[in-house]
């Protein structure tokens, strides 16, 4: 079954190139990627609900990861949705533990290989469906 990813730029952060490149790469890994452009957590979760997203990908290089990232997980859980939430962009490693504690499954920095991200997604989505 095809894995469906909803990919968004978090909040007002305008650095969209990375999110599009990753979307394209996940497409080439055989996934269906719905690209949202810029949205805030509430709207990202609504889109994930409507699209039946297995994965929510959040891209941010603007320093809002600690505020808006956990918010996505929080709203998602409150609405009864259980997608895998991952983040990418420029995020200091010191903040990783806080994000993971908040329910972000994984954070992928600038030099991540796409196979690594795709394999992570495949493994996690598979186990969660089973």
């Amino acid at each position: 079954m095809q894995i469906k990813v909803v990919m968004a730029k978090l909040g007002l952060d305008i650095h969209w190139r990375g999110a599009l490149v990753v979307s394209r790469m996940l497409r080439d890994e055989g996934m269906e990627v719905v690209y949202l452009g810029n949205q805030f957590p509430e709207q990202i979760v609504d889109a994930a609900i409507q699209e039946g997203a297995d994965v929510i990908g959040l891209s941010t290089l603007g320093g809002n990861h600690l505020t808006l990232g956990p918010k996505v997980v929080e709203i998602m859980k409150a609405k009864g949705m259980d997608s895998l939430v991952i983040m990418g962009g420029v995020i200091p490693e010191d903040d990783f533990p806080l994000l993971k504690e908040a329910g972000i499954a994984e954070i992928f920095g600038p030099e991540t290989r796409i196979e690594e991200m795709a394999n992570f997604i495949r493994a996690r989505v598979k186990t969660e469906i089973a």
Binding site: Q2, E32, Y35, L36, N38
Partner: protein, 321 residues
């Protein structure tokens, strides 16, 4: 596997969008649960006005759909949107980008957007489109906007599912001969020249008018509209014409007829895919047939003879599933 519990149905009937999203995913993936839902909701539909929006890639379909939705949402209508983008023939992946053009819709309630990848389907839609539309209809949407992939000259699936077909074109895609060709140019109930601030818009309108005036459609002459979707120009006129076409369908009795045809086509489609599945299964698993297939591969026997044998073999087995 999850089954179609009373609880799910109840939540669906209470317009729980999380449940709708989950069930639509099942329908999209054509799972057993999805089929259960379709059976259960088969008679709870037929109210929504289904508007198909088709046209070449980049003509502004998504932007136009976004603007139409915004206006309808402000009028308090409940709206479903289904947008289709192509699947890669190489990786089976897809990049579904229609939502980017509809970003401002996120703040309106009562708009439910579902993106589908074609997954190998060729007629401009995804295989599950009709079913997804049916579920949105059963969810009490007033209007469902169905946006096809960017099309060329011969993608007509949108006709089978829509009440009103809108063809979105842009100026400068060829001379008047192009408008006279059979195919996509014939199927529309409404023609839109979008991006009409670009040169050649009036010529495009003129060519279309000539084509429409000479067509044999007597009872409904398709209107031709100019829009600039990015600036919301011409969108209200387009909505008026969409409503006018709905009234025409209602008053002329075609509304019911379209639905009858749709049900029949659906029956045919479902039956065909069942048969295809049975045939595929037999070709894969039956040792006798396998042997004959090998002979066809090596060119020792013609495909017509063996095809006949497969069909006869299936009827002897009485097509047991």
């Amino acid at each position: 596997m999850v089954s179609l519990s009373d609880e799910l149905i109840e939540k669906f009937d209470q317009k729980d969008e999380v449940v709708l999203g989950k069930l639509l995913k099942e329908v999209e993936n054509q799972t057993e649960l999805g089929f259960e839902l379709l059976k259960h909701k088969a008679f709870q539909k037929g109210k929504a006005h289904i508007v198909g929006i088709t046209g070449p890639p980049g003509s502004g379909k998504s932007t136009l759909v976004g603007k139409i939705c915004k206006s309808l949402a402000q009028k308090g209508l409940k709206i479903g949107v289904v947008c289709i983008d192509p699947t890669s023939p190489f990786t089976k992946g897809a990049l579904l980008g229609d939502r980017v053009r509809m970003q401002e819709l996120a703040k309106y309630p009562n708009i439910f957007i579902k993106s589908l990848a074609t997954r190998g389907n060729l007629g401009g839609l995804a295989g599950s489109t009709a079913d997804v539309v049916q579920v949105l209809d059963a969810f009490d949407k007033d209007i469902i906007l169905l946006e096809t992939v960017g099309v060329g000259q011969a993608e007509f699936d949108v006709l089978d599912i829509s009440d009103t077909v809108v063809l979105v074109n842009v100026p400068g895609l060829g001379d008047s001969l192009q408008t006279l060709k059979a195919g996509i140019m014939e199927i529309a109930d409404l023609y839109v020249i979008n991006q009409s601030d670009r040169p050649g818009a009036d010529e495009s309108v003129k060519d279309l008018r000539m084509m429409v005036n000479e067509s044999k459609k007597e009872d409904w002459k398709p209107p031709i509209l100019k829009t600039i979707a990015t600036q919301q120009e011409g969108v209200e006129e387009l909505i008026d014409q969409i409503h006018r076409h709905k009234s025409f369908l209602r008053n002329s009795g075609q509304w019911a007829k379209i639905r009858q045809n749709r049900h029949m086509k659906r029956l045919r489609g479902v039956t065909n895919s069942y048969i295809t599945e049975i045939v595929e299964n037999t070709m894969r698993n039956d040792p006798l047939i396998q042997k004959r297939i090998e002979e066809v591969k090596r060119g020792e026997i013609d495909p017509f003879t063996v095809s006949n044998e497969i069909i006869r073999h299936l009827f002897q087995k009485q097509l047991t599933l």
